[in-house]
């Protein structure tokens, strides 16, 4: 669509530019600053070059956190996206139940993240939690505070609980935008349900699903509060994801140099992967 060339439009953007620049550029420069300097805690700083970057990139601790982060993010994407689409497909399109479903499904999205963690902690405790107690009663030896496998199971289940609704709501928004005529045409042609899904519903959902995958990727990669409140990164380091590790180094140990270098690497990984996701999906759409 034809937009008018108008340089004065910059004035409309200025307030946003000013606020975001204040919040993004100054802190980012602080981080860059720390990442190339060494300090001995007496407020004197020395040029350290790329030392911290090298240290972080070569450290096993960082590799382990990054690995855990990747496993976590790809697991929840592999569960939440198909599950969300499946639930959206089975939801009623019209009728009195639609708003009820939507409101109930959106509920987890508006609960503060540490409350989500605390709620799941209480829910999953093996002695007083409904989930923990039930699992133990039917014969599983379940204890998420002691066994890494159980901690992972709980963490992933919590994220599925917390965020699948976002995928459902996005996919549902795509589905309700399909005109009835499409379905009628498919019926006349005698299309099977899978064919309807493959050739009518999926293409219509592509755009919103792109948004869903991007949002879920970015947010799960940055996740901090929920797993921290649930497991504290433990048992051991088994659920220490990237953000948890970073906060430990930056605010716990106050190792500013390594923390800053790690921050930048972390941010760049998210940017690069979001860009890859985005281009790949946009290319598929163009085809």
């Amino acid at each position: 669509m034809g937009k008018i060339e108008n340089q004065k439009a910059w004035f409309f953007v200025l307030p946003v530019l000013f606020l975001v620049a204040f919040n993004a550029l100054i802190p980012l420069m602080t981080v860059v600053n720390y990442s190339v300097q060494e300090t001995f805690g007496d407020n004197t700083f020395f040029w350290a070059g790329l030392m911290w970057f090298e240290e972080v990139l070569l450290s096993e601790r960082f590799h382990a956190s990054l690995m855990r982060q990747m496993i976590f993010t790809f697991s929840i994407l592999a569960i939440e996206i198909p599950l969300g689409v499946a639930i959206a497909l089975t939801m009623p399109r019209k009728g009195p139940w639609v708003p009820v479903c939507l409101v109930l499904m959106a509920l987890p999205l508006l609960i503060p993240w540490n409350v989500v963690g605390a709620m799941w902690n209480i829910f999953a405790l093996p002695d007083i939690g409904l989930l923990g107690r039930t699992l133990n009663a039917i014969g599983f030896d379940y204890n998420f505070t002691r066994q890494p496998g159980d901690a992972w199971f709980t963490m992933i289940l919590m994220d599925v609980w917390h965020w699948t609704s976002l995928v459902v709501l996005l996919a549902y928004a795509g589905l309700v935008s399909i005109p009835d005529a499409y379905y009628q045409a498919a019926k006349i042609d005698g299309a099977k349900p899978f064919a309807i899904f493959r050739y009518i519903q999926l293409p219509k959902m592509k755009r919103v699903l792109t948004i869903a995958v991007l949002l879920r990727f970015m947010d799960s990669f940055m996740i901090y509060t929920e797993p921290f409140v649930l497991t504290g990164g433990g048992p051991g380091n088994s659920t220490t994801l990237l953000s948890i590790d970073l906060v430990k180094i930056a605010l716990g140990q106050f190792d500013l140099g390594p923390a800053a270098a790690m921050s930048l690497i972390y941010f760049l990984i998210i940017l690069a992967m979001s860009w890859v996701f985005y281009t790949v999906m946009m290319r598929n759409e163009a085809k």
Partner: protein, 266 residues
């Protein structure tokens, strides 16, 4: 098969409600009952936990603080995002695409990365432990989101609307306030909803930027849990109360949720 699939959303909603039920259940129990028995509903029903919260200022001020910075953030984010989104949806200008992408990259910045620099920045400008610090810090991810959503809604409004208004002799500010804003009211509602949502649920930055005077309710919860032992009933009651504002907000936007979550771009 058709009837069977009806159960999928119902089962899913049941799964969503179970942990919430357990939290609410706990909030009405006494500490003795929580630790002593495993009961599916409160046997000794008590409102004591809620009474504690509503009578102790260190608790209820947490809610006031949270609502204060969330409101400031929502109003501020939407107010500055409106003209910017209009510029992006209507005009081409030097560097527009780069600027839009750069804005969105801030949505990808992990709060953990910014926690420490934000602490130093807001201490330096003297805003530490005020509503404004948290409200401003949250604009980092809320402004890009608001611009993105509003731009989607505005691009759906035909340009002829603007042109007709100018022909009728409207000045730009009058057109924008009298005609354009009412036209995209739904979009503004959705953008405000998302700003409220992300500011309300975020804790890492809110906790880092406050100490006493502006401490959010969610932070009060974590501190109480660690200082006075593990008073689960109280914790559960405080948690239950944090769900309510969100539930009210969802109820108001329920008819826009489906479209709004697609950011107006289906």
């Amino acid at each position: 098969m058709r009837n069977l699939s009806r159960f999928v959303p119902a089962l899913y909603i049941l799964f969503l409600l179970l942990p919430i039920y357990w939290l609410v259940n706990m909030s009405f129990k006494t500490t003795n009952e929580i630790l002593g028995d495993f009961t599916l509903w409160p046997r000794e029903f008590t409102l004591e936990n809620y009474i504690t919260i509503f009578t102790d200022p260190t608790w209820y001020m947490g809610y006031v603080n949270s609502l204060a910075y969330v409101s400031i953030n929502t109003v501020l984010s939407v107010a500055v995002a409106l003209p910017a989104a209009y510029a992006f949806s209507r005009y081409r200008f030097l560097g527009d695409k780069h600027l839009f992408f750069w804005l969105l990259t801030n949505r990808m910045a992990p709060p953990a990365v910014f926690a420490l620099p934000f602490f130093q920045l807001y201490s330096a400008v003297g805003l530490f432990d005020t509503y404004w610090a948290v409200a401003l810090a949250h604009t980092l991810f809320n402004i890009p989101l608001a611009v993105w959503i509003l731009e989607g809604f505005m691009s759906g409004v035909p340009k002829e609307l603007d042109e007709t208004a100018y022909v009728d002799g409207y000045s730009f500010p009058r057109f924008f306030i009298k005609i354009f804003i009412p036209t995209i009211a739904a979009g503004i509602g959705v953008a405000a909803f998302f700003c409220f949502m992300f500011s309300w649920v975020e804790l890492l930055l809110a906790k880092t930027l406050t100490a006493v005077d502006a401490k959010p309710i969610a932070a009060t919860m974590t501190r109480t849990a660690s200082t006075s032992g593990y008073d689960l009933g109280l914790l559960a009651a405080a948690g239950t109360l944090t769900i309510i504002p969100g539930a009210i907000v969802i109820y108001f936007v329920r008819n826009y949720i489906a479209r709004g979550f697609a950011l107006g771009r289906v």
